[in-house]
């Protein structure tokens, strides 16, 4: 099942499927890219930013940017 990164729930894990083209170059250096496993670490209230973990590194991403990243969720 695919969904937006911003829709992932706390502590859910998935695999990054696609990243909006305007965002790809910006997040590439942080190690965020297609095929990587991503875990939701924290979601701030009131459409605040999310904190995700990729490759043992945490990054904080605004909710609007997180809308541009699609994630394939593990089944079950």
């Amino acid at each position: 099942m695919k969904k937006k990164l911003s829709e992932m729930k706390y502590e859910e894990t998935g695999v990054i499927k696609s990243i909006g083209s305007d965002l790809r170059a910006q997040v590439a250096g942080m190690g965020i890219r297609e095929g990587k496993e991503v875990k939701m670490m924290s979601k701030q209230p009131l459409k605040g930013p999310v904190v995700i973990m990729v490759d043992r590194s945490n990054a904080s991403i605004g909710r609007g940017l997180a809308n541009k990243i699609m994630v394939e969720m593990k089944d079950g």
Binding site: A28, Q44, V51, N58, S60, I61, G62, L65
Partner: protein
């Protein structure tokens, strides 16, 4: 040859496949703390505790050295001694360097440290005895929080609020830096992404964020009112930020930052940063402080201050309900806010007048060093807008504070 993003990552994967082995990762205590401090339910109370701790350390450290030690050194020994040995009592030279001769009379009841006003007395007392301990305390905690890796987490937690006024959570870093000194705070706005964010941040810092030197002076003079001063300024920060975000053109991109693991700070690095920042601060502040003392004394001696006070009394007294004498701190405020607050200490004011004067001093003009930097960093349109915001803010605050004061029956 330059690769595309995908090609580069392919190559990284090829290299790491040959050279890197990753074992199973064990969740550590540090990771658990990292999680707790960035999750809203636990992180926000933690952040409040950190800020409270910051303040407690700041006020205790500064109070210990200032009140416990340096005020006595200056008030009981150095300033009376200087007054007794400095030649030419009654001359202009004496007034400028030692200060108002009245305070050196035996049995003088006032606060000699603030009321003398000379370059070598009050002019040295303020930077060394009051401001220096405050600044060192501030930069120590700042360096510690930076090195341990807490600031990005604070940025994440506060982004929700700051994004509503068009700023990043990361705007908290220039804001905190400005609480030490506005000059590096304004310089740090270069790290923000867009012209709009940089402009907004500079205005908010210059107008609403008091520097550590000023906070130190406020803590010394009006410790019981300082909380209300902060509330008045925080409200302005968000109201003006909200309005600027609505009317100023430009982009407000969202936050995208790395959140590093916590790390033990090294003592050397913390000390080095504190030392470098403190010395940078002193280089910016002390010359202006001494110059300010000279100018204020000269204006008194030439009668210029009385003229200014008279000319501005429709605004100061009529508009803001403050005595004419506050014109001296207002003049000094162009140079240094800490000096200006210090001069208030030498004037008879009611509690409410003191409170409104301090708030007005905070918002009415950034100190000269900050102002010069803002001229350098802004274009003509932005600078004009900055002046506009300054003017509107001062009159709005002056009027509103007067109304509240009248409502409370204290003004």
């Amino acid at each position: 040859m330059e690769l595309t993003i995908d090609q580069r990552w392919d190559l990284v994967d090829r290299i790491t496949k040959e050279t890197v082995e990753v074992g199973a990762y064990k969740h550590t205590l540090k990771d658990a703390i990292a999680d707790i401090t960035v999750r809203p339910k636990t992180g926000i109370p933690f952040a409040i505790a950190v800020i409270y701790g910051f303040w407690m350390f700041f006020s205790t450290f500064a109070g210990f050295f200032t009140d416990g030690f340096l005020v006595k050194v200056f008030g009981d020994h150095y300033i009376p001694w200087l007054g007794s040995v400095f030649p030419g009592k009654g001359t202009w030279l004496f007034n400028i360097f030692a200060g108002n001769p009245a305070v050196f009379q035996p049995g003088y009841a006032g606060d000699i440290c603030f009321e003398a006003g000379g370059v070598l007395t009050t002019g040295l007392f303020m930077p060394i005895a009051v401001v220096l301990p405050a600044i060192i305390a501030f930069y120590l905690v700042m360096a510690f929080l930076e090195d341990i890796g807490y600031l990005p987490r604070l940025a994440v937690l506060i982004d929700t609020v700051l994004h509503k006024i068009g700023l990043h959570g990361y705007a908290i870093v220039p804001t905190i830096l400005s609480l030490g000194c506005n000059v590096p705070g304004v310089a740090a706005t270069r790290a923000l992404e867009t012209r709009k964010q940089r402009f907004m941040m500079m205005v908010l810092l210059g107008v609403f964020v008091p520097c550590g030197a000023q906070i130190g002076m406020m803590q010394e003079l009006i410790p019981e009112k300082i909380g209300f001063v902060f509330i008045a300024l925080i409200i302005g920060y968000f109201v003006v930020g909200y309005i600027l975000n609505k009317i100023w053109p430009g982009q407000s991109p969202e936050m995208l930052i790395d959140v590093p693991p916590y790390r033990m700070p090294t003592r050397g690095n913390v000390w080095r940063k504190t030392w470098m920042r403190t010395t940078s601060f002193l280089r910016v502040a002390v010359p202006f402080m001494l110059l300010g003392c000279v100018i204020v004394q000269l204006l008194y001696l030439t009668g210029g201050m009385a003229h200014l006070g008279h000319a501005l009394s429709p605004v100061i007294s009529g508009g803001f309900g403050l005595p004419q004498e506050t014109v001296a701190p207002l003049v000094a405020g162009f140079l240094r806010k800490d000096l200006a607050v210090g001069l208030l200490g030498g004037i008879q004011l009611t509690g409410w007048q003191m409170f409104s004067s301090v708030v007005l001093l905070s918002v009415y003009f950034p100190c000269l060093a900050t102002f010069v930097l803002m001229i350098k960093e802004q274009n003509a349109k932005e600078f004009g807008a900055t002046l506009g915001v300054l003017a509107v803010t001062v009159f709005a605050y002056g009027g509103i504070l007067r109304l509240i004061g009248m409502g409370l029956g204290v003004a």
